[in-house]
Every structure is written in C-alpha cells, then in structure tokens.
Symmetry: C2
Subunit: 276 residues, 2 copies
C-alpha cells in the first residue's frame, strides 16, 4: 500500500466532518468508522428516520404514515427485501449506512447494533421519514436560536394528549419536540418550517404546554431538558419519535429503527423538499 | 303507510336525477333502484373509482398508488373488513352503494353483481381513487366542450407506452383518457384540471398520439371513439383505468371494483379538492 500514513490516520480519527457529503457519511457508517449521532453533519442534506418492519405490518404502517403526515412525513419506501433506498439515495444500503440501530422484538429493545445483517430478511420493508434536523438547519441559517444545539444536548421531546389517527395496529399519542423562542421570531420560525412539510412542517402548538397535556417542560419523555428563558415561549413541532412510540406500543414481532439521533443521510438537498 | 302513491311511483321510476345528493344516489344504489352509470349525476359531488383487494396485496397496491399519483389519486382507504369509507362518506357501505360492480378472480372478470355481500370478508381492504368526472364538471361549467358527453358515449381510453412506477406485483402501462379541444382553449382546460390533482390533475400529453404509442385514435382500448374535428387537438389525461389494468395483469386471487362508469359518489364537494 502506497497511501501515506497521515491520510489513513486522518480517516480513522476523523472520518467525517461538517462538510462531508451524505455519501461520505454513509461510507463511514458502513465501515463503522462513524458510530455517533449525525446532528450537525451532512450540511444541507436531508436526514431521515428509519423504520423497518416485516411485510405483514407494512400496509398498516404505511397507512399510519399517510394518516399522520405531520409526525410521519414519508420520504421513501423500499419494498420487501430491498435494502436500497432508490428514491432518496441510490446505491446506499439501509442495513449498514446508519451509525447505529435499535432492534425491537415484541416492542422491547433487545439490541443496538452497528449493522442489521443479523436481522435482515427478504420479508422486511423499509420506510424513511423526514426529520426535524432539516428545518433546524434553516432556522440556524436565518439566525434563529436552536437551544438544544447551543447547549449540546438532544432535543427535548414530550408525549402529548393528542391522539394519532389510528391505522390497523398503530395508534397512540403524538410526540412533539420543543424549541424555545422569543415571541418576535416565532412567525419567522413558523414560516421556515411550514415550507418543509417533509420535515414535520409548521409547529403544532405555541405556548402553554398544558394544552398538550405536558405537565413539566423540565421532564421530557425523550431527549434532554433545555433552558427556557423568562422572555421565551415554548414552540412545539410534531416529532419523528411518534411512529417509534406507536411501534413500541403495537409490539410487532420485529422492528428495526435508527438509534435516536443516529439518522440516515439521504442524497436529497434541503432545497429539494422546500416549498417557496 | 300514508305516503301518496304518486311519491312512491316517482321514487321507483326515477330514483335519482341530476340534482340528487350523493347520499340519495348511494341510497338508490343500495336498494338496487339505480344500477346504471353515474356520469352526469351527483352534481358537484366528487366521484370515485373503487378497488377492493385482500390484505396480502394491500401494501403493494397502496404503494403503487403513491408512486403513480396522477393515475391513482388516493381519496380514501378503508382498513381490512371495514366497508365504510369514513374519510369521504361516513355511514356509506362500499358493498352496496355503487350501481354495479366487477369481480376479478385471478385477473379474469367472473361477475358483475349489484352488491358484494357474496364476496365480502374481513380480509378485504378498500381503496377509493379520484375520477375524471370531477374535472369534466369544471370544464363544462367553464363552457368547454366534453365531446364524449356531447355524443352520449363513454370516454375513449388508450393504453400508452409510458410505464408506471412498479410497486410489488403491480406495474404495467399508463392508461389515458382523451378529450379533443381547439388549441385556443387547451390552456384553460389545463389550468382547470391542474387545480384538481385528486381528479388526475393536468394533462399528461397534448397533441400527437404516436408520442404515447397510440396508433389510432379511432380504436380506443376502453370506452368508445369520439369525433375529433380538423381544427381540434387530442388532449390526454391520466386515467383511473390504469390501476384496473395493473390489477388484471397482476392476477390477484380476488379483486372487486366498480363496473366502469358506475362510480362511487362521495360526500366531498368539488370545491374541497380544488386548489386555488
């Protein structure tokens, strides 16, 4: 091998960076050089939630996504046995190209592997759903604060009292993410996120968390609490954890997902899913 | 019973008319007082194609609709065993409320019954897809000609050389309907139909039929030929027969549909599916 040692060292120690392409990040995940969350990576590339289910549940889940488009915006569906998301990342492999996965058997998490070869079969259907990382990028570009990124934690997420539209075995409550904003910038944040229905779209609620049945903002159901300053209002968006919660409650014999925060990088650019 | 004889006579001899509501037409179908095509009836109500399949094919067919939205615009999906189209006509019964049905077994039409009780089971999933009757209504209101209505025949429909996007067992070619128009009104017809993506949207082709692989406009694959005057251009729209052709080719063990022209009347008004 004639490759310089320095190059190999760089690749091993720092395989991806903020300006890596989606394909570079997927390659680093495939070789297990990258096994960490993808927040802040893949500048301008649309990130996606992954849900993989046996085909017997695929109709119910697809219908659940269609009936709850704000929480479950469909980016692509790969048919039974096909690990390639042809619609959003031709050539990629959903079994290897995410940093880390979660395996649920009968609704219980039983493993968090770095690839899915052990679990894969020709009976598995893969769904990619939009992710809020995409509109957060637009907020940052517009100079709006994203508190959990400032504080270096995962976004706070809460179960609500709003029921999802049922489809077959899938139902349960809407899960929301929260970002605190000053009142004068809420219109701007709403406008930016509303342009991206495939990244959860506009907020579902602004203001009093009790209207969503949330008792205490300091105790999120998923992720971590963030500071809400006295001059700020909590703003709530539909969250991609909604389908994961519905799946856990429905207890299918097998469900494979990304580990929260460890998303799939598509080749789609933010501009492609933005409406003017 | 104190109802006057005249009333009963009227109901029996002429159960529906151009200004009957969708619910009145469905009721007349349910009692078999009406077993004829629905073209021109249900003024202002959205009409729909019906496809019913065993659940084992439901995921493939739903995905086929999503991947071919112009030919297969989804109005509603009723889950396995549920004959009530809750999304578009609460209280209706898809087993009885259409004038006449077609039954396909292994891709072959085996019956054209007036209700589906004999074939119904808890395993059947129902799909309602948009229909061109809806934008024809808008064309007529705008003073544009609809030749097959003028000539009192079914719209001419043609198989094309355009491949559908495959989903599971469903694939095949796009089927189009054709309406001849003078060049100066084509923009207006395009504009009117483009506002209704749930009724097939804008034309897929204007002009030379050979570009779609259609050899002879006088020999449609479905429906009947209409006169195209020398100063007119043929205009082609995606057609709801596309999914029926795909189903026939895929040969599922059972498929239940409306008999062509004998559509389901939803409670949705044209305004509800029109974009401004």
């Amino acid at each position: 091998m004639n490759k310089p040692t320095l190059f190999l060292y760089d690749v091993v120690m720092n395989p991806i960076h903020a300006h890596s392409t989606a394909a570079e990040i997927r390659a680093a995940c495939r070789t297990n050089e990258w096994t960490q969350p993808t927040s802040g990576f893949g500048h301008g590339y649309v990130q996606a939630n992954l849900v993989i289910l046996p085909k017997e549940y695929a109709f119910d889940f697809l219908l659940f996504c269609l009936r709850n488009p704000q929480a479950c915006p469909l980016l692509g569906v790969s048919e039974a046995g096909d690990p390639e998301p042809k619609e959003v990342a031709p050539g990629a492999d959903l079994r290897t190209d995410l940093p880390r996965y979660a395996v649920y058997e009968d609704g219980v998490q039983t493993a968090t592997p770095q690839d899915l070869y052990h679990y894969w079969s020709d009976d598995l259907v893969s769904f990619l759903l939009g992710c809020s990382f995409t509109f957060e990028h637009a907020m940052l570009e517009a100079g709006l604060p994203v508190r959990h990124l400032e504080q270096g934690v995962n976004v706070p997420m809460y179960k609500t009292n709003r029921l999802n539209n049922k489809a077959g075995i899938f139902e349960g409550e809407l899960v929301v993410s929260m970002r605190p904003l000053k009142p004068e910038v809420i219109d701007r944040a709403t406008e930016l996120s509303a342009r991206m229905p495939l990244a959860h779209g506009a907020p579902v609620h602004v203001g009093d968390p009790r209207e969503l049945g949330i008792a205490d903002l300091d105790k999120p159901d998923f992720g971590e609490a963030v500071t809400v300053h006295p001059d700020e209002v909590p703003v709530f968006w539909a969250c991609g954890v909604t389908p994961q919660a519905a799946i856990m409650a429905a207890r299918p014999k097998l469900a494979l997902t990304h580990l929260p925060g460890h998303m799939f990088l598509t080749d789609m650019r933010h501009e492609q899913i933005s409406q003017s």
